[in-house]
Amino acid sequence: MKLVVISAIWCPACLIMGKRVKEALSQFPDWTFEKLDLDMDEEKALMWNPGKTLPVFIVLDDEGNEVRRVIGELSKDRLVKDVFHG
């Protein structure tokens, strides 16, 4: 599985989520991770149609298909439950 996170440097919720994602990923070592900045990696980020709220968490299966998408600031528990376990 792969987690794609779309965030921005000017977004406080993205900064808060950065640390939480790092901690959660340590519990799921087989997951791969890609972080896209809406400004720095604009072209790549826009391909995922991030919408109007950041951060965006997109979970992909091994074939690269989008399995689920969660938006906004989440607690650690909700991050694990909604993003990693689905």
Partner: protein, 396 residues
């Protein structure tokens, strides 16, 4: 015969208090009314005063025109110096120790009648009357002035106004500060400053940005305060500000109830322009030019961002304008407001500068600030129209 005269004298002595005491309704109350030629609300108040003079023969109204009449202006100046007030809004009425500003039928007329009643039934010095030679100075202690008094641990009894205004400045300023509008600009700025090699330059540019933002916000609020002090008593303006407060408060509550806790994506052209501008500032050949650039950035950014949070500062300045505190005290309260408005920005900036890492403030705080700020705005907006006296912290 001597015995009879003795009994009569004794009876007269017993009855003396009844003859000599003045009934409350007989106590003459002086009203000092400052007005201006052509002022619509002064004219409305005058109509009320004319009726009052017909129904209450023991009310004496002293009228002073302060727009054109030099004598009226001189009296107003003396009264201002005596009471430490500023008669900048008309109509302005002084009864005993109470000032009543503006005139709204059904509200101000009741306040004036209440003030007359209070001054009749309590021992209150008519300081203005004494100064103008139309009242006899009283001897002995006065009753407590008609101010709401609250009891606080350690501080004892304090007047509601002396606690409520600074507290309101702290609460509304802090809530306004959590407004996420300006935060994204600061974070973008820090993210670009963090790469400057000389740390002192980083600190200086960041602090100048915050300081200029504070000055901008302060002067915006001061200008608004001056406008509200001039026209604040005009009912229609109070009604408009009240409506803005209720509308703004409802939007805030709607934002606070939104399900998505995250950052709203700012328009990409706006983001690119801002990045470019910050880059140009960092690339300036001299530090002075960089400072000027960052000040210009703070001014323009805050001008745009003001629209985002205009509701709260406007409501606060209206409350300040309604209260009888000196102009310098009002400025002090504005400074308290702006300091707390910038508090979260300062915290984020200092942490970033110390740790070289950007820190965000959770959107849940912005959510709470939207909900609490929205509720406060709605309450203040309604009080502004229905019960302005409560905003002067007189709950009697």
């Amino acid at each position: 015969m001597g015995k009879k005269i003795g009994i009569l004298l004794f009876a007269l002595l017993l009855l003396t208090p009844f003859f000599s005491s003045v009934k409350a309704e007989d106590k003459v109350i002086n009203i000092f009314s400052f007005r201006a030629e052509g002022c619509l609300y002064c004219a409305k108040e005058e109509e009320f005063f004319k009726e009052l003079e017909k129904t209450d023969k023991n009310v004496k109204i002293y009228r002073f025109e302060i727009a054109y009449d030099k004598e009226g202006q001189a009296v107003a100046k003396k009264v201002e110096d005596l009471l430490g007030i500023k008669i900048s809004t008309v109509p302005y009425v002084i009864i005993g120790r109470q000032s009543i500003i503006g005139f709204t039928e059904g509200i101000t007329d009741v306040e004036i009648l209440d003030a007359i009643e209070y001054n009749r039934t309590h021992v209150v010095r008519d300081i203005v009357g004494e100064m103008l030679g139309v009242a006899v100075p009283i001897t002995g202690d006065e009753d407590d002035p008609k101010e709401t008094v609250i009891r606080l641990p350690f501080f004892g009894e304090v007047q509601a106004k002396s606690v409520s205004l600074p507290l309101l400045a702290v609460v509304i300023g802090a809530l306004d500060g959590f407004n996420p509008c300006a935060m994204w600009v600061l974070l973008l700025l820090i993210s670009m400053l963090i790469h400057i090699k000389e740390k002192w330059k980083m600190w200086t540019l960041g602090l100048i940005f915050l300081f200029t933002s504070a000055i901008m916000y302060f002067f915006f609020m001061l200008s608004w305060l001056n406008i509200t002090m001039l026209f604040g008593s005009v009912f229609i303006l109070r009604l408009i500000i009240g409506a803005v407060a209720v509308g703004g408060g409802s939007i805030n509550i709607r934002n606070g109830l939104k399900k998505d806790d995250g950052c709203e994506v700012v328009d990409s052209t706006q983001r690119k322009k801002l990045r470019q501008r910050i880059q140009e500032i960092s690339d300036q050949p001299t530090f002075i030019l960089a400072i000027i650039g960052i000040m210009g950035l703070a001014i323009t950014v805050n001008l745009v961002e003001l629209l985002c949070s205009a509701g709260l500062p406007i409501v606060f300045t209206q409350v300040l304008a309604l209260n009888q505190v000196t102009y310098w005290e009002k400025i002090g309260y504005l400074l308290i407001y702006v300091s707390f408005f910038l508090l979260d920005d300062i915290i984020v900036f200092v942490i970033a500068m110390k740790t070289f890492e950007l820190t965000g403030i959770s959107t849940k705080y912005a959510k709470y600030s939207h909900l609490i700020g929205g509720a406060i705005m709605i309450i203040l907006g309604i009080l502004m129209v229905v019960k302005p006296g409560w905003l002067m912290f007189n709950f009697s």
